[in-house]
């Protein structure tokens, strides 16, 4: 009896990862699944990025160079879908999987088997989505927003594949969110109270609730689209008593909180990195928590600011304008808190801190152009121009993407046990930060001058700024190859990292060795 019991105990404590491919297929380990998510995200980022390169090549000069307008529309649609659902969201879920259990002192995620499933849905979802490119007839070509009737009456046959891939992605996100909430609420170390939780964990808790509230709505609206297309219903068809504008209402009820899903975890990452490299505590921890919660709540009340030009009444426009501007208040609280954290700190600028600093500046620029777009009279000019493209790329690339890159640099020595090359990472940063502005800043001017979005050709007066943007785009794209190289190089070797990778870092993840053991925190740690 005793020897059997001891055997089991020994077995439990000393199992490492299984060998071979099945390790990744059947794994229930949060670190393995986090790694899978992160590699998946990077792959999708490069595929979506390749599409962006095609778009910028086509727009390098006026006239049609490489693609037919129809294929250009497919490129913009898939670029958007892949970047949002394939790169940013799985990237954040990967970080959550890797970090949340070891930040709250949990042995693993609360639902490890479901964790495996929620990852493995994604490769299938995106195979379905990408396969539409190789089908007879066009791939989805209506923009990532899939407005009716473009996606219903006029949608290509492949739209049904798009709908099912969205269903799978939604399922994966919802399961991921349930898992994260269960882990944070139930598996925290007993002494870790809510207001002692790391801020990254806080922002992910709020994001997970957002996901549970909105992903089913997206699933619902694409289900209605499916029914309108195939089962003769008229949700969005005026001839049968439906209303195409209603599609936009339901879609943006999902879509606006979705943009916060893509930024709140980034806020959390920055609130971890900035204190570490300022060697100070985060300024205003509790105000950060409340600001994040109020951003999340307000995000449900502003959806129609995407629809100012659909003919909604002035009263509604005024309400949505003011509610949207209100979001600038909690966001401003966060920006000021980051600046106050840096103020009089002993700053050093390793790669994560460089990206975090750029995030604070560039995300704020994107936030301000958002405020400009929120103004109804001005929005009538900006609507569907490159100004909008500039705005959301300024919040998503230096916001979400820089967030994931900064987090990767911050925790990569923890994950691999090796420091990355300081010189290469700094080259990566400066190339990215400069080319990003060369790429997106001219788009503001293009939009103000009236260049519409989602077009493969344009009037001659837009040629100069488009050429500048394209050059910036190519440099930005190429510098992400450098990022891939740095990551692979660090995984394979490098200067060994101690448990506490960064001297100013605080938190449970830095009490574990680098790389951490395959199974960590079997007994909950003490949190002071």
């Amino acid at each position: 009896m005793t020897s059997v019991a001891m055997n089991i105990a020994e077995h439990e404590h000393h199992t490492g990862p299984a060998k071979g491919l099945t390790r990744w297929l059947f794994t229930t380990n949060h670190k393995d699944i986090g790694t899978l998510y992160l590699w998946f995200s990077l792959t999708m980022f490069l595929i979506g990025g390749a599409m962006a390169m095609c778009i910028r090549a086509e727009l390098f000069k006026p006239g049609l160079q490489f693609f037919e307008p129809g294929f250009f529309n497919q490129l913009t649609t898939l670029h958007g879908l892949i970047m949002i659902f394939g790169a940013v969201m799985p990237g954040f879920v990967g970080l959550a999987n890797w970090m949340i259990p070891i930040m709250v002192g949990a042995p693993d995620m609360a639902l490890p088997r479901m964790n495996n499933w929620s990852f493995w849905l994604l490769p299938f979802a995106f195979s379905i989505l990408l396969s539409t490119l190789f089908m007879k007839g066009p791939a989805p070509d209506f923009g990532w927003t899939a407005y009716a009737p473009l996606s219903t009456t006029y949608g290509p046959k492949s739209t049904d594949f798009f709908i099912f891939s969205i269903h799978l992605m939604g399922l994966s996100s919802i399961m991921g969110a349930i898992n994260i909430i269960a882990t944070i609420l139930n598996l925290r170390a007993p002494t870790m109270t809510f207001m002692k939780m790391p801020i990254f964990v806080w922002t992910w808790l709020i994001t997970a609730f957002l996901l549970i509230a909105i992903m089913p709505v997206l699933a619902g609206v694409v289900t209605m689209m499916l029914m309108d297309r195939n089962f003769g219903t008229s949700f969005f068809n005026a001839a049968g008593g439906g209303d195409p504008v209603m599609y936009q209402h339901i879609f943006w009820f999902f879509g606006h909180p979705e943009v916060y899903v893509m930024i709140l975890p980034s806020f959390g990452i920055m609130s971890e990195i900035i204190p570490t490299f300022s060697r100070k505590k985060l300024f205003g921890y509790s105000s950060m928590v409340y600001a994040t919660s109020s951003i999340a709540l307000l995000s449900f009340l502003v959806w129609a600011h995407h629809m100012f030009t659909t003919g909604i009444p002035v009263v509604a426009e005024v309400y949505f304008m003011l509610a949207t501007m209100l979001i600038a208040v909690p966001t401003g609280v966060k920006v000021f808190n980051w600046v106050a954290t840096m103020f009089r700190g002993s700053l050093t600028f390793e790669a994560p801190m460089l990206f975090a600093t750029a995030f604070v500046v560039l995300f704020t620029i994107g936030g301000f152009s958002g405020l400009m777009l929120a103004m109804v009279p001005a929005d009538y000019q900006y609507h569907d121009t490159y100004f909008v493209v500039a705005h959301f790329h300024y919040v998503l690339v230096p916001g979400a993407i820089f967030g994931i890159i900064a987090a990767t640099y911050y925790w990569l020595p923890k994950w691999t046990g090796h420091y990355f090359s300081p010189i290469l990472s700094k080259i990566h940063f400066w190339l990215s930060a400069i080319s990003l502005n060369v790429l997106f800043f001219p788009m503001h001017f293009l939009g103000l001058a009236g260049m519409p979005r989602r077009i493969p050709d344009y009037a001659l007066e837009f040629a100069d700024f488009n050429r500048i943007a394209s050059i910036g785009g190519f440099v930005f794209g190429a510098s992400q190859i450098l990022f891939l190289y740095i990551v692979i190089k660090t995984v394979r070797g490098g200067e060994p990292a101690p448990a506490k990778v960064w001297e100013g870092a605080h938190g449970l993840e830095w009490t574990l060795s680098s790389p951490p053991p395959y199974h960590s925190f079997s007994t909950p740690p003490q949190v002071d």
Binding site: N186, F194, P216, V217, G220, A238, G241
Partner: protein, 183 residues
Amino acid sequence: MRIPQKKLIFLLCGATVVMFGFSFALVPLYTVFCKVTGLNGKVDIDGPISLSRYRSEKPDTTLRRVTVEFDTNRNQQINCEFTPNHTALQVVPGELTHTSYHIKNLSPKKMTVQAIPSISPGIVAKHFQKLECFCFSQQTLEPGQALDLPLRFWLETELPNDVHRLTLSYTLFDVTNTKENDT
């Protein structure tokens, strides 16, 4: 605050199902919201308002006249003529007005069409009452067949005083392949 695992998962899955249901509940909510507030210029096409409702209308005391313009569109340029017999009428609020539309099937095939009304400014829609409208049903036209379609409506006397002009627009949809009752 620790909720037992099973209960927590049950609650979270429940929330997911509720939100999925909510997305479908938004459809009737949207329709009701538009009807009550008159947003979107959506006009009822379910059936006529009863005559007794018209008789209970109080006479308008403001001596005003409102210009009602009639406008038509053909969705996807379907092959038929569709025009108002009057492009605009001076209407006294509270008085029944009669007008008609002309429709002719120009295609060589039998065609079933449905007209969908919309009113601009949208806020007026709830004061625009129809006693008789061809939009309450679908019309089936033989090839080359022409019809005069009647419309009888009144503007409620509660119509805001600052409304001097409104447009009733019909869009004609071809519903031959999706008509409700195949006869």
